[in-house]
Amino acid sequence: MKIFKLIFKNAFRHKLRSFLTILGIAIAVIAFGVLRTVVTAWYVGVEATAANRLVTRQAVSFIFPLPYTYRDKIQQVPGVSQVTFASWFQGVYIDKNQFFARFACDAETMFEVYPEFLLSKKELETFKREQNSCVVGEDIAKQYKLKIGDVMPIEGDIYPGRWEFVIRGIYKPRDKTTDATQMLFHWNYVNERMKKETPERAGDVGWYIVKIKDPSKSGIISKQIDDLFKNSNAETKTESERAFAQSFLASTSAIITAMNILSFVIIGIILLVLGNTMIMSARERTREYAVMKTIGFSGSHLIGLIMGESLVISIIGGALGLALTFPLIQGLEKVIPKGFFPVFEIEPITIVLASIAALSIGILSSLSPIQRALKMKIVEGFRFVG
């Protein structure tokens, strides 16, 4: 008989209790995995940013536009290699629940500044050529079963009226964190219509995306850009794309922090549950530990037996939890609207953290029973009545 056999027999001595504890750990690991996945999905936009891109927006607020005329001035700033721009279009596709990002952009430069949006040369040329065309991300094309040549009707809200865009390209994401849920079309197309229908809004763009040659000079270049428009009607605020993306998360940071804390609180709770189980088990076996000590089992043997038993339960629970987390996340990914979390999958760090948490629970919950078993005198152990 090996010591592992004894550990396993002890771990499943009370089958129902062990099963419930394992189930509790599995549920905790699932909850931990889901919460961590939501948190990491929230940060995907930040992770996808490039160091060599700056964003210039209206200094007062992101919702106020900037004049199109700024483009050439920004282009002249030393260190700037390319300037593109975009406007948040919003609108309704099918119904209000079908949410994904829709941008009016500069078709000529957009894909040069965003090389992570992979589009074939032929599709790009067609897109540039046709004013009423659009490009959609691969995920959106899959979700709505769209193909090249299809027409996407959008009911405008920020830009009122009915808009129709012909799909001329479907871009693929270069990286895992690249958002493949965007719809991009010509700013010129939108602007021409604005000139006719609401001329006072024509010539406005949402923000500029500035590609720079040297990321280490982003601070200087940002200041130079903002200095250009100081004391104008539309002062600018230029910052790194990462800072820009993070500013969107600032409003939800409390929720994210709460979710982060909650994920660890769950681990703490299950630590107490397993700790309680182990204390009960060790208490019930006081006489057995006394017998084992009498036979010649040393302190290290008892540590191995008690910690081993705790680890068996926590590892099985952790493994079960992780095994169930994957299909659950896949199921959630299908249910959650694509545009809400462009990338929703378990990160390797989540698996590592969940595994560490399960192992830590196993080790920590055994410490108190181990201490008790080691401190117990043999003769007191034989007198114990459980």
């Binding site: 008989m1 017998v291 036979i295 010649g296 005198k377």
Partner: protein
């Protein structure tokens, strides 16, 4: 015969609520190799305490205990555990078998601390179970055995490492008359046939009849 156990001026007292309660008073005792020694006395006389001290599972307040020239009162906990593993076999009143292990696995338990091969362990376990007459119950769990059978498994566990001394604390105390008689016959056989030195504590005069020497303890004094 030389004395295998030498107890010299042993005293033991417990502290309860800052009061020292004497249990054994200056005990001196020699037990010879191959002897079946019985300690008798009423409850609270200190017989189990003396047995525990000789078996190295408790420490005296004063005095020394030599087992074959080793003063076990000088050994630390770790050394004492190793010493017990190779020198002492225990038989308890309430058998104290591990309920999740079969009879075979319970007997095998002390051998987990040895470096014997799997085949050698099997040989030892089967031999021990054969001596106690339970070869046919090897794979039964304690709850599937009678009290007498459980105690025989406990005896097999005690002898499987071929210890120097077998200590038995009220081995028949929890058994019916017939089972008790079987256990005493078995202990007698171990003493006579296998030349085991046995130190038994009992308050049962019938059990004590098997012993080659009987001493009485009363209120911590050997009389």
């Amino acid at each position: 015969m030389p004395a295998i156990i030498q107890v010299k001026n042993i005293s033991k007292s417990y502290t309860r609520d800052s009061f020292a309660i004497p249990v054994l008073n200056d005990i001196t005792l020699d037990i010879e190799e191959g002897e079946f020694f019985c300690l008798m006395g009423p409850s609270g006389s200190g017989k189990t305490t003396l047995l525990n001290l000789i078996a190295g599972i408790d420490k005296p307040t004063n005095g020394n205990i030599f087992i074959k020239d080793t003063d076990i009162t000088l050994l630390n906990e770790s050394s004492l555990a190793k010493w017990r593993a190779s020198n002492i076999g225990f038989v308890f009143q309430f058998y104290n078998l591990i309920p999740v292990l079969t009879a075979y696995e319970n007997v095998e338990l002390p051998l987990m601390l040895t470096h014997l091969s799997k085949a050698e362990k099997k040989q030892h376990v089967e031999a021990a179970l054969n001596v106690v007459g339970l070869s046919d119950r090897m794979f039964h769990y304690p709850k599937q055995l009678s009290g007498g059978q459980e105690q025989r498994v406990a005896i097999a566990r005690a002898i499987v490492t071929d210890p120097l001394i077998l200590v038995a604390d009220e081995p028949t105390g929890d058994l019916d008359k017939n089972s008790a008689a079987e256990i005493l016959i078995l202990l007698d056989r171990l003493n006579k046939e296998f030349k085991k030195t046995i130190l038994m504590v009992t308050h049962d005069p019938h059990a004590a009849e098997k012993a080659s020497k009987i001493r009485h303890l009363d209120k911590g004094d050997l009389i």
